[in-house]
Amino acid sequence: MTYATLYAICGVVLFGIGFYGTVFCRHLIRKVMAVNLMGAGVFLVMIALAARTPSGAPDPVPHAMVLTGIVVAVSATALMLALIRRLHHQTGLTELPEQMEH
C-alpha cells in the first residue's frame, strides 16, 4: 500500500464522516462544518491521486482542480453562513425545522 493510497482512503473516510455529519447533525453550523469536511475528504483524495503518476512527478491537474474546488467551497460556505445568519436573525432558529413546511 502506497502513501498515496493511504491518503486516498483517509480522504474517503473523511468524506464519510462529513457525510454522516451532514445528514445526522441538526445544528446548522455543525452541518456547515460537516460539508466542509466532506469537501476536504474529496480534496485529499485528489491530491493523493496526483501522486500516482507513473513518472512519480505530481500531476498538476488535480492540484488545479483542488484549488478550484476550494474556491467553490469557500463561496458555498460563505453563502451557507449568510443564509443561516439571516434565518437566525429572522426566527432565532439554529436548526432546520423537522417537518417540511410547504
Binding site: 451532514t22 445528514v23 445526522f24 432546520l96 417537518q99 417540511m100
Partner: protein, 583 residues
C-alpha cells in the same frame, strides 16, 4: 291530369292543416275543409294508373288500382261526409281548429294509404293516419278519452313496430317494397310465415281482430262523432287493405294462416257481438259491432287462403263488404249525433228513426239494402270451401242474428225521442247522414249491376231473400222478447243485470293496469332506490377509504421527504447502483 289529382288529394289536406294552424278562424277555410276529401272521390273514378316517385321516401310508388279504387272511393266519400258533418257538429266547439287540424292530417294519411303501392309509403301514410287520429280521440279531454287515447297509442305503436319488422323482413326476403312484387315473391320465401305473421298482426291491430281489438271499443266512443264515423267506417279498413296488399291471395294456399284467420275471425265475430250487447254507450255498441264485422272479414280472408282459386270471387265480395260496412257504420255513427239532438217535428223524428233502422238492418243484411248484397256475395263466394263449408253455412246466418241483436241494442239506446235531446238538428249534420243512409239502399241497386261484382250472385234466387231475412226476423223477435221480459222483471234484478257490464275494451283494461304497475315499480327502482344506493356507496367510500388513503399518504410523505431519509437513500442508491453494475 290523374297525377295532378293524386298530388292534390295528398297535399290538399296537409296544406289545409297548415292553414288551420296559422289562421284558425276563417269561414272560407271551414268550407274548404269540408271539401278536402273531394279529390279522392274524383280520383276513385279515374282508370287505374301507377307512378314512380324515386325521390320520395324509399323509392315510392303511388297509384290507383282496382282494389285500391274501392277503398279510395268509400274512404273519400266517408271523409267528405264526415267533413260536412263535423263542420256542423263542432260549430260551437271552441277548440274546433284543433279538431280540424288532426282531422285533416288523419284524412291525408287515410287517403294516402289507399294510393300507396309500396311498403314504405304505405307505412308512412298509415302512421300519419294512426298518430293523427290520436288527436281526434282525446279531443274532449275527458279522463276516459285520455285513457282511450293512451291505449290507442300503445297499441298503435305496437302495431307499427310489428309492421316495421314485417316490412324489413319482407324487403329482405323479396328485395322490393312494391306491393305487387312483394306479395308474389313473398309467397315463395322461406320466411313467409314469420313475415306474414308480423304483418298480419300489425294490420290486425288496426283491423281490430281479437285479441288485438282492445283500443277500438275505447277509442270510438271517446272520439267526437264525425271522427268515430271515419275511424270505424274508413280507418279500420286500412288494416284490411294492408292485409290484402301483402297476402299472396289467389296464388297459394296457406293452411296455417287460413286456420288462424278463420279461427280468430270466428271468435271475434261472435264474442265481440256478445260483449257489444252488454254495452250502454251506443258508440261502444257500434264499436263492438265493427270488431265483430271485421271478424267476418277475417273469416273471408281465411277462406281465400284455404282456396286460392276462390280469391277473385271472395275478393270482389269483400270489396262490396268494404263499401257496405263503411257506409252503414258511418251512417249509424252519424245517427248517434243526430238522434241525440232535439227533434224539431214529429215527422222529422219518424224520418230519422226510419233512417236509423234502415241503416241498422242493412248492417244485418236486410234484403233490399247494401248489406244484403254484401252478405249474399259472401255467401256465394265462400260456398265451395271443402273443410269449412259447414261452418260458414251456419256462421253467416248466425252473424246476422248477432248483428241484428247488436243493432237492436244500438237502436234501443239511441231511439229518437226516448231521451230529452239537446242541441239543434242542423242541416249540416242531417244531409251527410241522410246521404249515407240513402246510399245504404241505393247502393244495393247500383251494385246490383256493377260488373265488378261477382256474376255468381247477379242471378239472385228468391231463396236468397229468405235466407237473408229469417235470421233477422228471429233476432228481432228475440230482441222484442228480451225487452218485454225485462219490463216484467223485478227492478232489483234489472239493476243486477245492468250492473253486469263488461268495460269498453274488455281484456285490455287489466293489461294496461299491469303495465302501469310495472312502470311505477320501474320508476321506484331506477329513480329512487338505485340512486339512493349509489349515494350510500359513495358516502361510505368518502367516509372510510378516502381518509385512510390520505392518512397513509401523509405518513409516507413524512417518512420519505426529510433530510435523514434522503441522506440514507442517497447512500443506498449509490451502493445499489454499484452492485447492479458489478453483477
Amino acid at each position: 291530369m290523374n297525377q295532378i289529382l293524386l298530388w292534390t288529394m295528398l297535399v290538399l289536406p296537409l296544406l289545409l292543416a297548415a292553414l288551420v294552424v296559422t289562421r284558425a278562424d276563417s269561414p272560407i277555410l271551414a268550407r274548404l275543409i269540408a271539401w278536402a276529401a273531394f279529390p279522392a272521390v274524383l280520383l276513385a273514378l279515374v282508370p287505374p294508373f301507377q307512378i314512380e316517385v324515386p325521390w320520395l321516401l324509399l323509392d315510392s310508388r303511388l297509384g290507383v288500382d282496382a282494389m285500391g279504387r274501392v277503398f279510395l272511393g268509400v274512404t273519400g266519400a266517408l271523409w267528405l261526409a264526415a267533413g260536412w258533418y263535423a263542420n256542423a257538429y263542432l260549430a260551437n266547439d271552441a277548440r274546433r281548429h284543433v279538431f280540424q287540424f288532426f282531422f285533416l292530417l288523419t284524412m291525408a294519411g287515410n287517403l294516402g294509404v289507399t294510393v300507396a303501392q309500396d311498403g314504405a309509403s304505405f307505412l308512412t301514410f298509415f302512421t300519419l293516419m294512426s298518430l293523427a287520429a290520436y288527436g281526434l280521440i282525446v279531443h274532449d279531454h275527458r279522463a276516459a278519452s285520455n285513457r282511450a287515447g293512451r291505449v290507442y297509442l300503445m297499441m298503435t305503436i305496437g302495431g307499427e313496430m310489428l309492421l316495421f319488422m314485417g316490412l324489413v323482413m319482407a324487403f329482405h326476403e323479396t328485395g322490393t317494397l312494391v306491393f305487387s312484387d312483394l306479395s308474389t315473391k313473398l309467397a315463395l320465401s322461406p320466411l313467409r310465415d314469420i313475415v306474414l305473421g308480423l304483418l298480419l298482426a300489425g294490420f290486425g291491430v288496426k283491423l281490430g281482430v281479437m285479441p288485438l281489438h282492445g283500443w277500438l271499443p275505447m277509442a270510438h266512443p271517446a272520439a267526437p262523432t264525425p271522427a268515430s264515423a271515419v275511424l270505424s267506417g274508413a280507418m279500420i279498413k286500412t288494416g284490411l287493405l294492408g292485409c290484402l296488399r301483402v297476402l299472396p291471395l289467389g296464388m297459394i294456399a296457406l293452411p296455417t294462416w287460413s286456420d288462424t284467420c278463420l279461427f280468430l275471425g270466428l271468435l271475434t265475430c261472435l264474442l265481440a257481438a256478445l260483449i257489444g250487447m252488454t254495452q250502454r254507450n251506443p258508440k261502444a255498441v257500434l264499436a263492438y259491432s265493427s270488431v265483430s264485422q271485421m271478424g267476418l272479414v277475417t273469416v273471408c280472408l281465411g277462406a281465400a287462403l284455404v282456396k286460392p282459386q276462390a280469391w277473385p270471387v271472395i275478393g270482389s265480395a269483400l270489396m262490396v263488404w268494404v263499401v257496405h260496412h263503411g257506409v252503414a257504420k258511418a251512417a249509424l255513427f252519424f245517427g248517434v249525433g243526430i238522434a241525440g239532438t232535439r227533434m224539431p217535428t214529429t215527422a222529422a223524428r219518424y224520418l230519422i228513426t226510419a233512417g236509423l233502422v234502415l241503416a241498422a238492418l242493412s248492417l244485418a243484411g236486410l234484403p233490399g239494402t247494401m248489406g244484403f248484397a254484401a252478405k249474399t256475395a259472401l255467401k256465394y263466394s265462400t260456398a265451395n270451401l271443402e273443410s269449412w263449408n259447414d261452418m260458414l253455412a251456419w256462421l253467416l246466418p248466425l252473424t246476422s242474428v248477432t248483428t241484428t241483436l247488436l243493432v237492436s241494442r244500438y237502436l234501443w239506446l239511441v231511439w229518437p225521442g226516448r231521451h230529452a235531446g239537446h242541441g239543434r238538428l242542423s242541416p249540416g249534420m242531417v244531409i251527410p247522414w241522410g246521404g249515407l243512409s240513402m246510399t245504404v239502399v241505393a247502393g244495393f241497386f247500383v251494385m246490383r249491376w256493377q260488373t265488378l261484382v261477382n256474376p255468381a250472385w247477379t242471378t239472385l234466387a228468391p231463396s236468397d231473400l229468405w235466407i237473408a231475412a229469417w235470421p233477422i226476423l228471429i233476432a228481432v223477435a228475440l230482441a222484442g222478447t228480451v225487452i218485454l221480459v225485462a219490463r216484467t222483471l223485478p227492478t232489483n234484478l234489472t239493476a243486477m243485470l245492468a250492473a253486469f257490464r263488461i268495460p269498453e275494451g274488455d281484456l285490455v283494461i287489466p293489461l294496461i293496469a299491469t303495465i302501469y304497475r310495472l312502470r311505477r315499480r320501474g320508476y321506484r327502482v331506477t329513480a329512487v332506490q338505485l340512486p339512493q344506493r349509489s349515494r350510500r356507496l359513495q358516502h361510505a367510500l368518502e367516509e372510510t377509504v378516502v381518509p385512510r388513503l390520505v392518512q397513509w399518504l401523509d405518513r409516507m410523505t413524512r417518512s420519505l421527504e426529510n433530510d435523514l431519509t434522503a441522506g440514507l437513500l442517497l447512500v443506498l442508491l449509490a451502493v445499489a447502483m454499484l452492485l447492479i453494475s458489478m453483477t
